[in-house]
Point group: C2
Amino acid sequence: MPSPVGPEIERLIQLLARLPGLGPRSARRAALHLIKKREQLLAPLAEAVRVAAERVVVCSSCGNVDTSDPCAICADARRDPSVLIVVEDVSDLWALERAAVMNARYHVLGGVLSALDGVRPEDLNLDGLVARAAAPEVKEVILALNATVDGQTTAHYITDLLSHLPVKITRLAHGVPVGGELDYLDEGTLSAAIRQRTTF
Amino acid sequence: MPSPVGPEIERLIQLLARLPGLGPRSARRAALHLIKKREQLLAPLAEAVRVAAERVVVCSSCGNVDTSDPCAICADARRDPSVLIVVEDVSDLWALERAAVMNARYHVLGGVLSALDGVRPEDLNLDGLVARAAAPEVKEVILALNATVDGQTTAHYITDLLSHLPVKITRLAHGVPVGGELDYLDEGTLSAAIRQRTTF
């Protein structure tokens, strides 16, 4: 079908359609919404995307994204240097930071080991992890990987990898999500919750 | 909760979250996706949004959006000047253009009359419509408004508004969508399909 819009708007729509959560129809809606709100949304978004494109970098120490290297977390002297939290992806780092329960540093692996997806140890940021875990100030490494088969396989791999170091290796508890009702849960979660039960 | 990301990334996420179809969680996903694809997506998007912010204008003749005024459709001499299609919104214009069935010009009202939403005749582009419909070359005005109560009310209002002119006023057929099966349709659509039945 012919394009009903000029090439500049078509280009914007095509790029928006590549965002997760947007397809062609919602990209058209989003583009029109932006165009109708030029001052309040389109212009500020142009600036924000430009700034991100020019200034966002990957922290060479931990794998986080920020506008500085090292990132704000690695550079934060108030962080407890004795605890290192290992995550699969920056999105997990963000999620844990929102939970605001630890004042630690992070290490982003960039994925998990996966035979199916062809992700091998050399594809992940594991050398960096070993080097950081070996630092004398690090006392505990928390493996905050997803509670999936690949996540737990990777956790075991890392445990072996760090076994020569004096660090304590811990992992997140598996169990009933807070607010969760038992009869909505799957058997895997319920058995993990029973097996990892704690003293009340 | 504290922001886990620097202000520049937070700003990008907040603006993305204001797009229709995206909420805070999908805005975070989208921002991270953009950041991970700086050359393929983030940088081109920065350029496309900038170009849109600087160059997109509303056509003063018909209400379409384009990078020129008059828009490419109004300026297209190959368009049939005797037919004027009235639509509620630019998105409807785009939809009809994708259907590529008419080679006409358009007039975008900018909405429909609505007592509930407080949209009065002066809030729509009606004066412009009357002026354009009065031009000697215009023979037919197609009211391509939504098949909603407000859409049809507005269609009747426009019919009265143009009744002093020699133009033929038509509207889109209501009925069974192409590919549609009758037992999935509502009674309103089915009765319209029966009432507006045509000779086979």
